[in-house]
């Protein structure tokens, strides 16, 4: 929460070294503004993203996690982003059962030339998380029946 009481989400970003981290650099050098909600972590490839990283971030108080990599077909390591897609889909299904809204863990692409796309993605995800409100997962373990939640979300 910021001082004036409005909710400023904390989003942990996992950016691949070759495309989206460079897209973020480009957004910087081109001075494209976006909300200061994203705190990013560089990994060599989205294929490195161990799903437990996402769980750890949520567990430690992140309101959302944004994973960004190279466009499909443009992975610096040929196909790491495809591995990331597979794990992401499975992870989100698991998270759904724990009552985590789909919007809180997102996977997007931005090439090294797409500073604008990067900035827009962060802005859009921020708006979505603002609308959802804080997650505060450490204190907010759901009591509802997870299967009911899963249906509500689907």
């Amino acid at each position: 929460m910021s001082d004036n009481g409005t909710f400023e989400p904390v989003i942990v970003g996992f950016l691949c070294n070759w495309c989206s981290y460079r897209a973020a650099d480009l957004a910087g050098t081109s001075r494209m503004g976006y909300p200061a909600t994203l705190r990013d972590i560089r990994i060599m490839c989205t294929g490195r993203l161990d799903p437990t990283f996402v769980l750890r971030a949520l567990q430690k108080g992140a309101d959302a996690v944004l994973i960004m990599g190279c466009h499909p077909g443009q992975c610096h390591y040929q196909e790491g982003n495809y591995k990331a897609i597979r794990r992401f889909v499975l992870l989100r299904r698991t998270l759904r059962q724990m009552g985590i809204d789909d919007a809180r863990v997102q996977l997007h692409w931005a090439s090294a030339a797409e500073g604008v796309r990067f900035a827009q993605t962060v802005a859009r995800v921020t708006e979505e998380i603002k609308a959802l409100g804080p997650l505060d997962w450490p204190h907010n373990w759901p009591n509802e029946d997870p299967y009911a939640l899963q249906e509500a979300n689907s």
């Binding site: 910087g28 705190r39 972590i41 990994i43 060599m44 971030a57 090294a112």
Partner: protein, 671 residues
């Protein structure tokens, strides 16, 4: 070293006003003092300046720092600088970590001082938490093979190949077409000096063909690339020429007698014909012809064999097959050139529908002394000399509907066309331009020369080229409709001939070629350089360089300069003999590996082998590129990705999520 013994130094950079203008740098430095293991935390005007670097070196010695964090720009900018500073003070450079608070904070949150400052604190905290888990690493030294592969035999590729070959190292020059020369071989004159293109290019082509250090592989394409800097393995497919190069003398009897005429879409830009067995142009290098299998009567019907009958050296080989050549090279230069914008994509300009609308490349052939009309500028009927000609600039360039970029050469080639048309026909010439951009040496002077020669310049983008006459003087003419923005009026200019100065686009297969060599394409499709200003010939992949128009639209002098620059970079690595590779690699703890082999299939480089006898998997460090996909996949968590270990990333996550709002960093406890 135990946790307690680790001593971290934190340096927060002002970068002049670049960071300090938005982020409260002093506060970040002060706050970071309270992060775990931090012994000293300072702010500094310019960390990358020698004084900043010396500060790190002094502190390492004075305070016995074991780890260093610098919060400044992107690691892609200065990670090397600070690693070197650490190394100079005797520290292993991999015990350093960077927090990017400029590109990722101050520059993108200029109106949110609190937000940017808090984010900077979180990023510094993440780096500190991470760095204490860093381990000393040694870069892997690999030998550099002295051979180089140059892909593309246009002027940029030829220049690069000659530079390297002249320095005494071997070059394989691969060209898709039957001859090297590229687009430059198609031109008649070059701007702004109007010297003959062939006269300055052919000696270079000949040198490349005859050079003892250059192996020409024409009519060939790269099929597959493996390996890494210093040690690439490249498979090249040599398409069957159907002509034995060892026997052929290039005498020309075969194409003289060949009964099949084919429209030459490549070299003649569709303006002229060639035979089914052909050499694209007289000065071609190599001099040997090729048989166009798709159009050859023998390959279609099994009859003819005229070329075989007339060949005095019996060099025709109808049974020749494609050959695969495996090359081992240390470096690669991509000089694959450009593709001309297809003017049909702008239907209102009538190209392909109105017969006397020409593309720039068609006009180049028309005006070329060796071209289909032997240099006579005539209409499509082959005889009428035009009395008035319109030249349209920026066709498919500087246009959001097609290409946003400026194609860099069209202003000058349009001026050249204006001169050639006037010189050869005396016709009235109208140049329709948006802005004139004659920016290089001697270009502005050339523009003034053309102005003084009497060309009419109309500033305005052409909306339509039509043959629908509205007035008697427009009958039978092409009418160029444009707004003259200098007088604020719509104009209709009737002419006999229109030349469209088509823009430069990336090759249609640039994505696929880039993918094969590990080079990205920007949103325009041209290959992406490592740094747009400071590293224009290197790419994201070590050992792969780019030169010429494949990197972005450019003219001949710039292509030559870039070809030579790429060659210099290659020669630099060759003379070093060795290159240090980032030690970011995976390794398997074999004592804990269950031998499940999940990682084997994960690896895109087949770098993980299963050792049958021991029942475990093992990573080949020379093939591993450090992506970490296997690390994340291992169900036993026994694969370590050096410099991106599980512990390091978990600590970074914990660090990035500390409470940054208070005076002290507060770690979120898990309940």
């Amino acid at each position: 070293m135990s946790e307690q013994e680790k001593r971290v130094g934190v340096y927060v950079c002002h970068c002049g006003h670049n960071i300090a203008g938005t982020v409260d740098v002093e506060h970040v430095a002060e706050w970071s003092q309270h992060l775990p293991n931090v012994v000293i935390s300072r702010d500094n005007k310019f960390m990358c300046a020698s004084t900043g670097q010396e500060q790190i070196e002094e502190d390492i010695k004075e305070f016995g720092l074991t780890h260093v964090v610098v919060a400044s720009c992107s690691p892609h900018m200065h990670e090397k600088t600070f690693r070197n500073a650490c190394a100079r003070a005797g520290m292993n450079p991999y015990l350093f970590e960077m927090a990017n608070i400029r590109e990722h904070a101050s520059w993108v949150h200029p109106n949110d001082r609190d937000g940017a400052t808090n984010k900077a604190k979180a990023l510094v905290s993440a780096a500190v938490h991470r760095v204490i888990h860093h381990e000393p690493l040694e870069p892997m030294q690999v030998k550099i093979r002295p051979e180089t592969l140059v892909v593309g035999g246009g002027i940029a590729g030829i220049q690069a190949a000659l530079e390297i070959a002249d320095a005494g190292y071997h070059v394989y020059l691969v060209e898709r077409e039957p001859s090297i020369g590229g687009h430059m071989a198609m031109f008649d004159k070059t701007f702004p000096t109007l010297d003959c293109s062939a006269c300055i290019l052919t000696p270079k082509m000949f040198d490349a063909g005859a050079h003892p250090n250059i192996t020409l592989l024409t009519y060939s394409e790269v099929e597959k690339v493996d390996g890494y800097v210093g040690n690439f393995t490249v498979r090249v497919r040599k398409r069957a020429r159907m002509v034995d190069e060892d026997l052929c003398t290039g005498c020309g009897s075969c194409w003289d007698k060949c009964p099949i005429k084919v429209v030459d879409d490549v070299f003649e830009a569709g303006m002229g014909y060639r035979k089914a067995i052909y050499r694209p142009f007289p000065q071609a290098v190599p001099k040997y012809p090729v048989i166009d299998v798709e159009n050859c009567t023998y390959f279609k019907t099994g009859k003819c064999r005229m070329c075989e009958k007339v060949c005095p050296t019996e060099a025709i080989r109808f049974d020749m097959e494609d050959q695969y050549v495996d090359l081992e090279v240390g470096n690669v230069i991509l000089a694959t050139g450009y593709k001309l914008f297809d003017c049909r994509r702008i239907p209102n300009y009538g190209y392909g529908r109105l017969e006397n609308v020409f593309s720039s490349l068609e006009f180049e052939r028309l005006t070329n002394a060796a071209g289909p009309t032997e240099g006579k500028v005539v209409l499509r009927d082959g005889e009428t000399v035009p009395e008035s000609v319109a030249i349209i600039h920026c066709v498919g360039s500087r246009d959001k509907n097609y290409n946003e970029h400026c194609s860099a050469i069209c202003c000058m080639s349009s001026l050249k066309f204006a001169h050639l048309v006037m010189e050869k026909t005396g016709a009235q010439v109208y140049n329709f331009y948006i802005d004139m951009r004659p920016i290089s040496k001697g270009y502005e002077e050339f523009y003034h020369r053309i102005l003084s020669e009497g060309t009419t310049f109309i500033r305005g983008k052409v909306s339509e080229i039509t043959d629908a006459a509205h007035a008697p003087d427009e009958e039978g003419k092409l009418i160029v409709v444009a707004e003259d923005t200098l007088i604020g009026k719509q104009r209709r200019v009737p002419v006999d001939m229109v030349i469209l100065a088509a823009g430069l686009e990336p090759r249609a297969d640039s994505q696929a070629v880039g993918y094969m060599f590990g080079v990205g394409c920007g949103d325009t499709g041209f290959f992406t350089e490592r740094h747009p200003k400071l590293d224009p010939v290197a790419t994201a992949t070590e050992g792969v360089f780019i030169a010429g128009a494949c990197q972005g639209a450019k003219d001949i002098p710039d292509s030559v300069a870039q070809g030579a620059a790429a060659a210099a970079r290659v020669l630099g690595t060759i003379s070093r003999r060795e290159v240090a590779l980032e030690p970011v690699r995976a390794s398997i703890d074999e004592s804990r590996c269950s031998g499940c082999r999940i990682c084997n299939n994960m690896c895109p480089y087949n770098a993980i082998d299963f050792i049958e006898a021991e029942g475990v998997s093992r990573v080949n460090p020379a093939l591993c590129k450090g992506c970490g996909t296997c690390v994340a996949a291992c169900p036993s968590q026994v694969i370590t990705g050096a410099h991106f270990t599980f512990d390091q990333l978990m600590a970074e996550i914990d660090g990035i999520l500390v409470d940054v709002t208070g005076e002290m960093p507060l770690v979120t406890e898990v309940i």
